[in-house]
Assembly symmetry: C2
C-alpha cells in the first residue's frame, strides 16, 4: 500500500469548475528510475483552464489510474514538487530535493510518481533563497517572457519593446527581464482610474513608459512615442489581448518590426492594417512555449537562470493570491476546495491564483 | 529644340482624376550616357493611384522640369519604352530597342530621357514574340507573384497555396506561375453569379480549386479542403483583400504556414485568430516589390524569365482594357483623355486598364 494521495481530475472537457473532481488514490511504489514526489505549490495558469475546457491543442492522455470506471486526466501544467521517495537506480536527485516536471503536465495532485530523468532538480544553492511558489511559477511565464526577446529579432541594449497586458504577471516579468538586458519598455494597461498607481508599480519594476489602451489608440501616438523615446520606435510588440487595439500596437512598431502574440485575453482576432505589412515590413507571429520546448529540447538552463534572478531579488514576484491546502490532510474535498477557489477567482479575473501546500 | 512631348503630371496629392493634368514639354537632348525613349504602353496599377493620392510611401521627386511655376511629378510606375535617340557613350542599347525603366517611375509621358544604365533592354530574341502591353506589364505583378513563392517558405512540387483575389490580374498570373512550378492552387473569388464561368477560366489557366468567399468562410472549410487535397493543407496564403475573410484564409493554412499580404482591395485590417499564431505557428508578413528590389538590387533576370514564359505562351495574358493614344499626336488633351478614361474605369473596378500608344 503506497501513500494515500489526492488529485483533481477530469474525464470530459468543459468548464473547469464543472468537470474537475477530486479523487483519492494510492501512490504506487516507484519503479527503477522513478521517484515519488509531493506537491509544494502550483499556479492556475490560463493554459491550465484552456487544456481542461478542450481549447488547448495538447491534452494529457486519459488513463484509468485514478478512476477505474472512467479514463481521466489530472489538471495542471506547472508546479514544484519535493522528492519523498526514490526508486532504484536514481542518481539524479535525492529525497528532499525540489523538482520541476520538465514535461510539465498533470501537476494538480498531492503526490505523483515521475521518471527521475524528466525532472529538473533545483540545486541546493538556489533553493535556499526561494519560496515554493516562486519555483512553482518560473517555468511557464518567466521563460516565455525571456524567450520572446530572442525569437524573431535581436534585441540589443537601448532597444525598445511595447506590450499590452503590461500589468499582467507575464507583463511585469517581461518589464524586469527587459530591464536586466538594458531593453526599454512601453507598457499598455487597460483604461482604469488607478492608472497612476499601476504606472508607479510598473516603473518601479524598471518599466519606462506606461500608457492606457485609450492613449495607445490616439492617432498621434506613434509621433508622441517618438518624442518620448528620442525618435526610436519599438522593434518588438508582445500581445496577450487581441482585438482592435492590436492594430494600434502594431502601428507603433518601427519598420521591419516583429509582433508576437502569446495569448488572448479577449479571444478576438489580431488586427493588422495591411499597409503595415506591405510598406512597413511588419511581421506577425505567435509564441507557444510547448512548441518551442519540443523544437529545442528543454529549458532547464533558462529556468535555473531565472531562479537565480529571483533568488538574487533581480526578478521580483508578481502578485499571487494563495489558496492553502494542509499537506497532511487526506481529504480530497479540502484539496478540491483550494483549487476550486483559485479557479473561480481566476475566471473572475481577480489576478493570479495559486495553490500552496502548507 | 528637342522632341515635342506630353506628360500626365500632378503637383498636389489627391484624387488622381482631379490632380493629374496634361502638359506639353520639350524633350531635352540626351547627355552622355543618356537616351531618349518613347512610350509604347503603360498600365494603370493600384500602386500608381496610391502614389498620386499620397498613400504610397514612395513618391517621385517633384521638379520644375514640366511646369516652371509649380514643382510637379509625372504619374505612373510601370511601362515599356522604345529607344529613339542615343546620347554619347551609350553602349548598352541601340535605337529601336524596347526598354523597361528599372527604377520604375514616371512612365505616364510620351517621351523621357533616362540614364541608359537604369534601363532593362529586352533582347531581340524575346521581343519578336511580344506585344508592347505584355512588356509594359511584366515588371510589377508577374514579378511580385513569382517572388512571393520564395519569400518566407520553400514551395515544392505538389505543395498547395491559397489566395484571395484569384480572378485578379495578379491572381491569374500566380495560378500560372505556380502551375509551372508544380504548385497547386486554391483560388478564392468574390461571391458572384458567374462563379462557374470564372472557375472554368481559372482552372483552364492551371488553377486546381476555385471557391467563393462564402465557401471559404464555412466553418467546415478546412476539413472540406483536406478532402479535396488528399489531406494536405496549404503552406502559403496570398492576400490582396484584407478584412474579415482573411481570418478564414489564415485558418486554412497548415501548421507553420505563412500568410503574405501584398495589397488590400478593402483597405480593412488583416484579421488573424490569435490561436492560429500561438498554436499553429502561422506567420504573417507583407510583400512590397519596391522594398524587395531595394534589398536585392534588381529583378532584371526575373523579368527576362517571365517575358520568355509570355513569349512561349506559358504565361497567358490577363485581360486588359486598352485605351489608345496616337503616337504622332501632339495633343496633351488626347494623351490625357486616354489616361483619364483608364483611371476612371480602374476606379470603378472595371478590370485592368492600360494606355497603349499606336
Amino acid at each position: 500500500m503506497g501513500i494515500e494521495a489526492v488529485a483533481m481530475i477530469y474525464s470530459e472537457h468543459g468548464d473547469p469548475l464543472k468537470v474537475l473532481r477530486p479523487v483519492k488514490f494510492s501512490v504506487p511504489e516507484p519503479e527503477a528510475g522513478q521517484v515519488v514526489v509531493q506537491l509544494l505549490a502550483a499556479p492556475i495558469n490560463p493554459s491550465d483552464l484552456l487544456q481542461i475546457d478542450g481549447t488547448y491543442p495538447l491534452r494529457p492522455p486519459k488513463t484509468k489510474e485514478f478512476d477505474p470506471e472512467t479514463p481521466s486526466a489530472v489538471g495542471g501544467i506547472e508546479g514544484v514538487f519535493k522528492v519523498v521517495k526514490l526508486g532504484s537506480n536514481v542518481s539524479s536527485c535525492n529525497e528532499g530535493d525540489w523538482v520541476i516536471p520538465q514535461k510539465g503536465s498533470s501537476t494538480w495532485r498531492s503526490h505523483a510518481v515521475f521518471d527521475a530523468e524528466e525532472l529538473l532538480v533545483i540545486p541546493e544553492s538556489l533553493r535556499s533563497g526561494l519560496k515554493p511558489l516562486q519555483a512553482a511559477t518560473v517555468s511557464v511565464n518567466p521563460t516565455t517572457a525571456d524567450l520572446m526577446f530572442d525569437q524573431y529579432t535581436t534585441m540589443n541594449t537601448g532597444d525598445w519593446f511595447i506590450q499590452n497586458g503590461g500589468n499582467s504577471g507575464l507583463g511585469r516579468t517581461a518589464i524586469q527581464l527587459a530591464h536586466l538586458r538594458g531593453i526599454k519598455s512601453i507598457n499598455v494597461i487597460r483604461n482604469r482610474s488607478d492608472k497612476d498607481e499601476i504606472a508607479k508599480q510598473l516603473t518601479d519594476l524598471g518599466g519606462d513608459i506606461v500608457i492606457t489602451e485609450n492613449e495607445l489608440q490616439e492617432e498621434s501616438f506613434p509621433e508622441i512615442l517618438k518624442q518620448k523615446t528620442g525618435g526610436v520606435l519599438p522593434k518588438l510588440a508582445l500581445d496577450c489581448v487581441g482585438g482592435k487595439t492590436t492594430a494600434s500596437l502594431a502601428n507603433s512598431l518601427a519598420n521591419g518590426g516583429h509582433f508576437i502574440t502569446y495569448g488572448s485575453m479577449t479571444g478576438e482576432n489580431v488586427q493588422i492594417p495591411p499597409w503595415l505589412l506591405v510598406f512597413k515590413d511588419i511581421h506577425v507571429h505567435g509564441f507557444w512555449l510547448t512548441s518551442w520546448a519540443a523544437k529545442t529540447g528543454g529549458r532547464g538552463d533558462l529556468i535555473l537562470k531565472l531562479l537565480d534572478y529571483i533568488r538574487q531579488g533581480k526578478l521580483k514576484d508578481v502578485p499571487f493570491t494563495i489558496h492553502e491546502y494542509a499537506v497532511d490532510s487526506k481529504s480530497p474535498e479540502a484539496f478540491a476546495d483550494a483549487f476550486r477557489d483559485a479557479i473561480d477567482a481566476d475566471n473572475k479575473r481577480k489576478g493570479k491564483q495559486a495553490v500552496v501546500l502548507v
